[in-house]
Amino acid sequence: MTNVADAAPVPGQIEPPARPSIRGMLAQTEIDLRLFGMVLALGVILVVFHIASGGKLIQPNNMITLAVQAAGIAIIATGMVLIIVSRNIDLSVGSVVGLVAMSYALLMTDWFPDILGLGPDTPFLWALALALGIGIGAAIGAIQGFIIAYIGVPSFIVTLGGLLTIRGLVWYQSQGAAVNGLDPTFLLIGGGAQGSVGEVLTWALAVAGCLAIFAIIANGRRQRRRYGFPVRPVWAEIALIVVGCGAVLGIAWFANNNFWPQGLANRVAVEQGWGPAPEGGWRIPTGFPLPIVLLIGVTLVMTWMATRRRFGRFVYAYGGNPDAAELAGINTRLTILKTYVLMGILCALAAAIVSARLNGSTLDIGQSYELYVIAAAVVGGTSFAGGIGTIPGAVLGAFVMQSLAYGLSFIGVNSPGQNVVAGLVLIVAVGLDTINRRRGS
């Protein structure tokens, strides 16, 4: 008979390989099982709607539309992770998106030409608008963060007030009017055929991604070797590299199978003097749209901040045990304030994508974003108990939420119906987290 003591590995000896099971092999790759499960769930959702729509959903142009729609939510969700991890909430994100989107529109249509005398031909107008918008977002975040961290008003109340107040301010910005006509360069941030990086750059990004995966895994192994820490088995390292690179290259190939619309291609061909269209029309791959490139950048930077910077460590420590963080000498108030400033900046980036897609702004841009963003974070594994949650998880969560909404609209469910499903998914996700936690303690 064996008992637990017999089964325990002797120090210094290599553990005998466990019976090969899928679960055991997954464990050896040290993949986050929750993330893995979410990728599966995402796949299942897409396949179900693909079948329900009679095999029409999974096509490059649909997937790119879906991804661009998810990008704004996903960018904000990366910030919501840090806010929820540090035991706060931000209900004002939708209104901040609305205010900043309206600011972009007004800056480019009225304020630049009328107040600053900058005509439409001024170079880098788009960058100036973006910088000012990011500044506005950061300032709103700083004000809310200050009230929460230094005055001690509960974040739920501060940002609920913010939700109403800021949305009201959007009306005063434009006296209730919708505003149209942005800088043509700024419009590229919204994606579309011209706002995509094209075939070559898409492949270049994919190859860079593969090299990065290889470098991260190799470097991690070298580091652990140097200090004599245990390392993953070689087959697991190779499997991770192969699967990771395969996914990256596959997505790039998929994006490069999306082509410019014929009308647009013909028009640009005339403008640029490309000559007559080849037989069967122009086939110009769009590759990755800019919102997706922006999302990838934001995800990398936010993950880096959350896991490799002291700021991220402080956020997680505070979420895990606020007293311990305080006693360890961490400036917890400044840390909380920073999470809200970061959130404001991310809202401004998302606002750039939405207003560019609309070529302007309306009064209700960003409405009910808070629901989708919080749902994305929670579906992605962020716990309301604090201290737990990952940035990539939230990005995947945003894609899950957007796939549901997009899939439902694709099979003809109207927007109220999509809201019903999104609301239920949010409750179920938090419910599962609560049950999970209760069972864990």
Binding site: R226, Y227, R313, F314, L327, G329
Partner: protein, 264 residues
């Protein structure tokens, strides 16, 4: 005339702390030498923990002064205390449950690479070294500390203090949450630290802990110091009497003693 006694490592003089109208600590004076363990005992609400929270910077004093090596110092927050190498092991185990042992050991004082990012490898390496000294059986360097046993968590907390060259250590009920074997481990650790010249304030309910480890014992009662005694001069019963009655052994009346016997 030359000063015969050496300067104490820490002196807290005439410390007062009030919560609203309640005096939690009243005019308390206490000191600690290097390589010495001073046991701080008293009933619930006697003010032991509050007094130590003043020294660790977790709560400001309303009056009084603190001297380290004879110099008056100002300790307003935990960061100030760490500047004077005052480290605290809290009763409630001040660890972030969701973070691993190296992360907790370096919490608030993370090692950074030259890129300004967290140097996880160096932190894990340092943690492995110090745990090898304090608790060689410790193996869980990559899991969140929530999954560790009470003794292992206490070892992480103590390792944190030791790694940052604590000269003055405050231990608030360090064995309260531990089993017998783990308690022994922590006791040995305290002796080891004392031999290395660290001064330790030991708060404990366990009179055996106190008699086993302390050189001197300070008894608190209703926010005041009843007396500070050399361990050899008193019996555990004397100390118990001071804790319960708030009077020095000589001052206790026959009647009170009888009541005490009755209660015991």
């Amino acid at each position: 005339m030359a000063i015969a006694e050496r300067t104490p490592l820490v002196e807290m003089r005439n410390i007062d702390v009030a919560f609203g109208g309640v005096h939690a600590v009243r005019d308390v004076t206490i000191d600690l030498n290097a390589g010495e363990v001073v046991g701080l005992v008293g009933g619930n609400g006697a003010g032991k923990s509050t007094l130590m929270r003043v020294l660790s910077g977790a709560h400001p004093a309303d009056a009084g002064e603190i001297r380290v090596d004879g110099e008056v110092v100002v300790i307003k927050n935990p960061r100030d205390a760490k500047v004077f190498n005052i480290e605290t092991i809290y009763q409630t185990l001040a660890l972030a449950d969701n973070i691993d042992a190296p992360g907790n050991l370096f919490l608030g004082r993370e090692l950074l690479t030259r890129w300004g990012t967290l140097d996880e490898s160096s932190m894990e390496d340092a943690t492995r070294k110090i745990m090898g000294r304090l608790n060689p059986n410790f193996k869980n360097f990559a899991t969140p500390v929530v999954s560790l046993s009470g003794g292992q968590r206490q070892a992480v907390a103590i390792a944190r203090a030791v790694h940052f060259n604590a000269r003055i250590m405050i231990m608030d009920e360090p064995t309260a949450a531990l089993g017998p074997a783990e308690t022994n481990q922590v006791r040995n650790l305290i002796r080891q630290l004392k031999d290395e010249g660290i001064g330790i304030f030991l708060i404990s309910h366990d009179i055996h802990d106190v008699f086993d480890l302390s050189d001197r014992i300070s008894v608190m009662y209703h926010g005041q110091i009843v007396d500070t005694v050399q361990k050899g001069d008193v019996t555990p019963d004397d100390v118990l009497g001071m804790i319960i009655l708030g009077k020095k052994p000589g001052e206790v009346t026959e009647k009170e003693l009888a009541q005490l016997e009755l209660r015991a």
